[in-house]
């Protein structure tokens, strides 16, 4: 074989291999979805959504408390985390002081990379120790800590996509800076910012590690002042239990959780795909 055909062979083989890598990676997603549907779908029924968990051996329990608990914990986390993250993001995009802003930006990125279990320890020392009990509130605070840096960076990123000319127009008409931000810059970037918030909330709603010792778990209805069940922690407990019936419920809960997370992701990206609210200048 001469040198040229050898080079062409290498070319063909390697390029095919990159395609194989892509196909294998993509197929993982479909394997995961397929498994969840196959094992989880037949355990989904009315009881699953409306009843409390039962002790092992008794058929027909549900995870209503975990579904409601997740909504409570994630909802409160969003209420705490979104305003803080949003305003910090506005600062980074609109009021850049050279040194302080770059320090905040770098810290936000580092906080984004802190393992979720470590964030759980922070919430534990701040909330669980003084309250002397695990609680839904502690879980919310842990998730809010994770949400803040995500929302900050996303808000900043999408505010930066708003053309400078729009801002200058508003300022030239005599608007003060904060009015310009509130009535021109933020509305123009709102689609992107909203997308970022939805993605952030979707991400924290699947987190279980920070909830393990903050919200803990509960076989009954929880609340902000007492241990509260959540879907991800429930999946962990049910999947690692030795009972077949509980394992089946874990699959069903997994199917519910992934449906919610993927729907949020797809919806957020479809909103964004419609484009930024203003034409690029």
């Amino acid at each position: 074989m001469n040198r040229l055909s050898w080079r062409k062979l290498v070319n063909g083989v390697m390029l095919t291999l990159t395609g194989v890598c892509t196909v294998v990676t993509i197929s993982v997603l479909f394997v995961i979805l397929g498994c969840l549907l196959y094992f989880g779908a037949h355990s989904l029924n009315w009881n699953f959504f409306t009843r409390l968990p039962l002790p092992p051996g008794e058929e027909g329990g549900g995870l209503a408390n975990a579904i409601v608990g997740s909504l409570q914990i994630v909802g409160l986390a969003a209420l705490i985390g979104i305003p803080i993250g949003f305003l910090a993001g506005v600062y980074l995009a609109e009021y850049e002081d050279r040194h302080f802003a770059s320090v905040v930006r770098y810290v936000a990125d580092l906080l984004n990379g802190v393992p979720s279990i470590v964030v759980g320890i922070l919430a534990w020392t701040l909330i669980v120790l003084p309250m002397k009990t695990q609680s839904g509130l502690a879980g919310s605070v842990a998730l809010a800590f994770m949400l803040i840096p995500i929302v900050t960076r996303q808000t900043e990123q999408f505010l930066r996509e708003v053309p400078l000319a729009l801002r200058e127009g508003a300022l030239a008409l005599g608007a003060s800076k904060w009015r310009m931000i509130a009535t021109v810059a933020v509305p123009a970037g709102s689609k992107g910012i909203l997308t970022g918030m939805i993605l952030g909330v979707a991400r924290i709603s699947g987190e279980s590690a920070p909830l393990l010792f903050t919200a803990l778990n509960n076989q009954y209805w929880g609340g902000l002042r007492e241990p509260t069940a959540s879907l991800p922690v429930m999946i962990y407990k049910l999947a690692t239990s030795p009972y077949d019936d509980w394992n089946r419920q874990a699959w069903a809960a997994g199917l519910v959780l992934i449906t919610l997370v993927l729907l949020a992701n797809i919806a957020a990206r479809l909103v964004l795909a419609r484009g930024v609210s203003v034409p690029r200048g």
Partner: protein, 319 residues
């Protein structure tokens, strides 16, 4: 006339006050991120003080004993498990991730590339407990019945593939982590590959290089900092990953040479023991483990961010 000037003055001062207040409010919220980071470090250092006082930093890091009853704690088995599983994960995920990133940036048409990247980002959005759930019921039996016996038969002369087969262990955890880190490596590497200027490719192709030679010898070296950054980002994620690892690593606090043996990781032991840790030393030792993990991931993350910044700002693709 006089009244007009007065009104103008009033308006001007009120907008200025508004601006000053707004500036203070947003600066305050930005500063809260710094406060959060400082609080995190402070709590980790204070929370682990009892363990440091009793065991000493160095002894804690190198000791292999973990005994809550005698309050004798060592971090070595957990650090070992964390590092081994993460490195294993990268050995599998880097070739796959880089291959897919090359396909998506160099070969696939823009529409297909964007669609596939969307699917890969969905993969990154799957909660880790779901990966753990799937791994327990599909990957673990697969490893126990087929893959690990096969490895033992063919490569059993190596100390890496000896001992009893459980299905759970370092290798299984590494494989799960590999699947979880691939999406991050792909999306960041693809960005850096896309940031390589077109002229670089055209020049190489014009000199008669094949597509693969252009990619491997010109484009990839040009983007190598960004690719390295993506690998470090994947490494940081793998080190801190909790749920999926906890569910498949086997939870055995000892150091084994064999990858088939069960082990433990830092995040997994915190997840398993923190809510039930009694006394003063046991929780403090777990917080100290968290501090070790925190330092590891911060170091690697900081490194990764710097490298990614260096390449994506260098590229000339965007105006």
């Amino acid at each position: 006339m006089a009244t007009a000037t007065a009104t103008v003055k009033v308006v001007k001062t009120s907008t200025q006050t508004g601006d000053i207040i707004a500036r203070w409010v947003v600066t305050l919220f930005a500063a809260s991120l710094l406060a959060m980071a400082i609080l995190l470090v402070y709590e980790l250092v204070i929370g682990s003080a009892d363990a440091r006082a009793k065991l000493g930093i160095w002894r804690f890091l190198v000791s292999t004993r973990w005994n809550p009853v005698t309050e004798d704690f060592g971090a070595a088995p957990f650090v070992y498990g964390t590092v081994v599983t993460s490195v294993l994960a990268l050995l599998i995920s880097v070739p796959f991730g880089l291959g897919a990133a090359i396909f998506l940036s160099e070969l696939a048409p823009a529409r297909i590339s964007n669609a596939l990247t969307f699917v890969i980002e969905l993969l990154a959005a799957i909660p880790s407990v779901i990966y753990g759930l799937l791994a327990i019921f599909t990957l673990v039996p697969l490893m126990r019945l087929y893959i690990e016996p096969f490895l033992k038969r063919t490569l059993g002369f190596l100390p890496l593939f000896q001992g009893t087969i459980y299905g759970v262990g370092f290798l299984t955890a590494g494989m799960v982590l590999a699947i979880m880190t691939v999406p991050f490596i792909i999306s960041v590497s693809r960005e850096s590959l896309l940031a390589v200027p077109r002229d670089q490719r055209e020049a190489a192709l014009a000199l008669g290089a094949t597509k693969w030679e252009t990619t491997w010898q010109i484009v990839v070296p040009y983007a190598k900092l960004g690719i390295l950054g993506s690998i470090f980002l994947g490494l940081a994620r793998a080190l801190g990953e909790t749920m999926a690892v906890t569910m498949v690593i086997g939870n055995d606090p000892s150091i084994h040479a064999s990858l088939l043996a069960p082990g433990y990781s830092i995040a997994a032991v915190i997840a398993n023991e923190f809510s039930e840790a009694g006394g003063k030393i046991h929780p403090a030792a777990l917080v100290e483990l968290a501090l070790v993990l925190f330092c590891l991931t911060i170091l690697i993350n900081g490194f990764a961010r710097l490298m990614i910044m260096a390449t994506t700002s260098k590229g000339s693709k965007r105006p």
